[in-house]
């Protein structure tokens, strides 16, 4: 499963505009994430949050450092590790920093990720994490906008369970609304703690 995720992410990053990673053009020189040579615009999509309200991605994250991840709550490895690591760092950083960060988790498995399940699952990491649901077309459009491949459900086993292949990278949008870096699986808490203040200060 992790290999599949890694391949999907690797593919996405290889096909995408990921650059050499110096980030100097943007002003933050030493990010530990993979800096995009050409920043990407925030997708113009409207999801539904776990309370059933429309969530306009651009409007409701305007001015925030936005960490966007596409995953699913039944994910056995990558998704919980990413969320746990980001949550652990968010708890460690001062409120002056963390109040300017939004973590968005868009489900790639809307059939099983009900709003309640998504809310409960995210709350175990950090109640402030935003769970978002959209139809397949909307989710795929959002993924394509940040040059991630569409997610793909795997085969259903005899117990009715299945995995969903999805990109394992977290996309980081600086407060100016542009995606500047991607964080593939393997990024560590110390890396997040290093990069989050830099992404917030990006000019």
């Amino acid at each position: 499963m992790r290999r599949l995720m890694g391949m999907v992410t690797g593919l996405a990053l290889a096909c995408g505009p990921a650059g050499g990673g110096d980030g100097a053009a943007g002003g933050a020189a030493d990010l530990r994430g993979r800096v995009l040579a050409q920043p990407l615009a925030k997708p113009e999509v409207v999801f539904t949050d776990t309370e059933g309200r429309p969530y306009d991605l651009r409007r409701q994250t305007e001015g925030f450092l936005t960490l966007l991840f596409f995953g699913y709550t039944h994910c056995p490895d990558v998704c919980p590790v990413h969320m746990a690591n980001i949550a652990a760092v968010v708890k460690e950083l001062p409120p002056s920093v963390t109040t300017r960060v939004k973590v968005l988790f868009v489900t790639t498995d809307p059939a099983r990720d009900t709003p309640e399940r998504l809310r409960t699952w995210l709350a175990q990491f950090d109640p402030s994490f935003v769970g978002l649901i959209g139809d397949t077309a909307t989710v795929n459009r959002a993924q394509a906008a940040v040059q991630l491949p569409p997610s793909q459900p795997g085969e259903v086993d005899s117990a009715g369970n299945y995995l969903v292949g999805h990109a394992a990278a977290v996309v980081a949008f600086t407060p100016d609304g542009l995606a500047r870096a991607m964080y593939p699986f393997g990024i560590r808490q110390a890396d997040w703690a290093h990069d989050i203040p830099k992404l917030l200060a990006w000019k």
Partner: protein, 279 residues
């Protein structure tokens, strides 16, 4: 099927898994002991040799059981690729529990047979003095806790086996002078043995403190491993630090206390005739 526990990156489940290499390892130890007692135990004993007692047999098998518990599913697998706290507990079983039990379970006549060769006797004598065991134990302790060593060995069953074996052997080396089973090896006196154990209390404090107080996880293996019941990597690391310090300290200080009281008893016994003579 895997033969020894190694990190796989697969999600953790409580489904039982077989590790035949562990059974073979544990079984070989038990079989060797039983055969040694049956075939080699002499009919007559000289000096302080004595027939094998039930207590010795029980201690030996308790030590083997500790090895089994540490190396097999679930602890072995959790330690290999999921939880640092499990690895720390496993380390303590490998070093602080199994070796002393096994050494105490070996009757003196068998120990003497094991070191009757010239090289073996010399080695046993060198290891009865504190310097070499302290160096070996501490060097292994440091090496097996280095993040690059853990990262390099985690995914390979053979490397994991080699690492586990090294840890276990370091435990035997560490306890050999402290338990001092054979008087002909000129073992340390009780106060020196207590001092030896006391010296060994301090080194684990270093990683234990890092584990307990580090802001972020130290080992990528455990930070990026699939979560076990949602236990966070930092919380797991803190439990590992406390386990190392509290449980490791408890075993060492407990042993030191026993040694102190034995020493006291010996001193008292030696004093009594003198007092009677004076009276």
């Amino acid at each position: 099927m895997s033969w020894w526990c190694a990190a796989s990156g697969l999600p953790w489940t409580w489904d039982w898994r077989a590790f035949p290499g562990v059974w073979l390892f544990v079984g070989a130890n038990a079989l060797w002991y039983v055969r040694a007692l049956r075939r080699l135990e002499p009919a007559r004993f000289a000096g302080d040799d004595a027939p094998t007692t039930r207590r010795e047999v029980a201690l030996f098998f308790a030590g083997v059981a500790a090895l089994w518990l540490a190396a097999d599913w679930p602890l072995g697998l959790l330690a290999a690729g999921y939880l640092l706290s499990a690895r720390t507990f496993q380390y303590l079983l490998f070093v602080m529990v199994a070796p002393p039990l096994i050494l105490l379970g070996l009757p003196r006549w068998l120990l003497r047979r094991l070191i009757r060769g010239r090289v073996a006797f010399r080695l046993a004598r060198v290891l009865s003095r504190p310097l070499v065991p302290l160096l070996v134990y501490n060097a292994v302790f440091i090496a097996v806790h280095l993040p690059p060593v853990i990262a390099a060995t985690a995914g390979s069953q053979l490397a994991s086996f080699a690492l586990d074996l090294t840890i276990i052997l370091s435990g035997f080396v560490f306890w050999w002078p402290a338990l001092a089973r054979l008087p002909e090896l000129a073992p340390m006196a009780y106060p020196a043995r207590i001092g030896y154990l006391l010296l060994s209390v301090f080194l684990p404090t270093v990683p234990a403190s890092f584990y307990t107080y580090a802001r972020f996880p130290i080992y990528p293996l455990y930070e990026l491993a699939p979560r076990v019941h949602g236990i966070g990597a930092v919380a797991d690391q803190q439990v590992a630090g406390l386990t190392m310090k509290v449980l490791g300290g408890f075993i060492l200080f407990g042993t030191m206390s026993v040694m102190f009281f034995r020493w006291h008893r010996i001193e008292e016994t030696a004093e009594t005739p003198r007092k009677e003579t004076v009276a």
